[in-house]
Subunit: 281 residues, 2 copies
Amino acid sequence: MPEVIAGIAPLRKRLALVRGRGASIGLVPTMGALHAGHAKLLNTARQENDMLIASVFVNPIQFDRPEDLENYPRTMEADLRLCETSGVDLVFAPAASDLYPREQLTFVESPLLSARLCGAHRPGHFRGVATVVLKLFNIVQPDRAYFGEKDAQQLAVIRRMVEDFNLPVTVVPVATVREEDGLALSSRNKHLTREQRTVAPVLSRALRLAADRIERGERCVESVRSQSLASFAPYPEARVEYFELVDPETLQPMERIDGPVLIAAAMWLGPTRLIDNVLWP
Amino acid sequence: MPEVIAGIAPLRKRLALVRGRGASIGLVPTMGALHAGHAKLLNTARQENDMLIASVFVNPIQFDRPEDLENYPRTMEADLRLCETSGVDLVFAPAASDLYPREQLTFVESPLLSARLCGAHRPGHFRGVATVVLKLFNIVQPDRAYFGEKDAQQLAVIRRMVEDFNLPVTVVPVATVREEDGLALSSRNKHLTREQRTVAPVLSRALRLAADRIERGERCVESVRSQSLASFAPYPEARVEYFELVDPETLQPMERIDGPVLIAAAMWLGPTRLIDNVLWP
């Protein structure tokens, strides 16, 4: 099993030695409940760094609803096994009292990037994400940090944070891992009933359809959008929260497609919320 | 004259060599217009670090009024001479386009700490200050950074940012430098007319008076405050913007003095705004 460290001071001490040897450090920040998507992050990072660190921390300040924080799956033993088979050297697993020893009064805010898509439905979420990621970066001081493309808005917020704050870390995006029928891997998929599971791939199909239309020359966003939304019509149990075409860097809406476009969507199946996205081209 | 570097990439390259030798780095962030208060920051930092860096950058995003940014004094030649006599090894003097190559979308926010005192009268100011200081910290990666106690709210915001973001830097506060009559040094003092200059020390006298009352046992904030405010009555040209007694860490108001207290005030003399503070005990 990989070494597990909970405290910030012992971790810093350990990593100072590693850096002193000139070894490169890769960080994969996670909230645990690891699946094959995380394994891909870890395997990618394993190949590019001398030392591989995974953090496992369910970050309270990014939950807008207390029951979501409480119900978030905690599977540390299985997570450690997956870390071991993925070649993780060290797991940083702090308690909430380690990362937030007293009230957090300082936050990372990116109002423009957080206003739309998931941010519109989860007030304070990206503030919490960016703040904890900045804390992890400052504690671990990795050379590279790995984030999944599935969480496209999170990735955009963090990439821009690194650039805007001149952080000495390279953000490496890792492609979404999908089931054979296209469903993006997520720790939430296990909450789906068998019937919801058969409906779930409509999300990636609708995104793929939008990308195909653009590929074939369609440039009107509203036309692409309405055609994709029609894909959901046969599945009344699928409630689309948003389906948007935005600038991949600023996440702002566009009317005409005249450059790269991020097609991003969120959908509810019963109490479970699924997100996915496709970047074109 | 000290070496001057404007670009981020050459600075990082230079400092990587310095750190590689195991040398400690001290940073004094300034907006230029250096005076004896800055000299004290530099002299303190000089004694505690192998390499001393001063940054000179008039930070556009901390000005709430465009005319203040435009009128802010730029005295680079004199600043460089003062840096030389203070033993500065390297001056980092970026252009706005170096630190803000495109629109800044990510900010440091500390709503609780910024709501009162100067923050109440300068919307966005401490967001701009904290953001640029974080950027400078990430570019220079100093072991220690030095800030004057005169800007008490700025110091509180930055200290808490360092703690809340787990930044690997030690913030060193440096005592306010005063004229013989008690007036705190400020680049704004040169804007005072001769008559305003004779009135100006009322600010530090009123603060001192408050500290003396507390020292002699007064514990009621409103009583301390009203007695100090009476000091300004003989000087109708002095307009008090605020005179507050707050918790030194959270900057929140108190009713009874039952621990350390920051007594902070701002006063206008004509178009010139002066601030000062006293920490008790």
